[in-house]
Amino acid sequence: MTTKPELRTGSHLLPGLAAVVLFVVMAVAILRASFGDPQGFGPDAPITASIGYAMFNLDMGTIPGEGMLVAFEIIDAVLVAALVAAVLLARREQDGSVVALLADGGREVRDHLTDGERPETDAVDEGGDR
């Protein structure tokens, strides 16, 4: 038998009222605001080409735009960092176990070093302030 997802209703939806209120406030602000006359791009404006030129700081586009080469390089570095971080988080050791140091705060390493014996008082596990 197939099932379908159902919306679980209840009091947990109450905080969502804040989002509804925020939408009402934003809608009122937007509808009451005035924005000068629209400029537009024109019928035959080379938008895609101009985006490419703006991305690499090339002064060849006919549509005005700021150069974004620095932002491009920063995003490049962020993407590489994110890729490495994702691999580090998701990878497994060669024996198939997860990378414990990242996953459990070093608990598996501690158990290995102490042959599975836990110290009698572990302030952090008990919610202490060590």
């Binding site: 989002a19 939408f23 937007i30 985006i51 962020v78 993407l79 580090l88 998701a90 459990d104």
Partner: protein
Amino acid sequence: MVPVQWYLLLAAAVFCIGLFGILTRQNALLFLMSVELMLNAANINLVAFSAYWGNVTGQTFSLFTMALAAAEVAVGIGIILVLYRNFNDVDVTLAKEMRW
């Protein structure tokens, strides 16, 4: 040309749907999807004002925002994976401490 107010209303609606998801859901994957909605609401604004003022800066910047969203998803999925390995669930309320 569609008045820019309608684009802003659409963006506000998408943003608030994302906020609603974050405030009411406990599933980490739904959290991630909600954050994506909020990021894309910002993109709608950028593109709308780019077309409104006839300047490509907004559209170029929205491309960077999309790349940033992709990076965020990559790290977010990794974190959710670790969450699942440790708790056998993706409920964000289970992880109450910085370490477990």
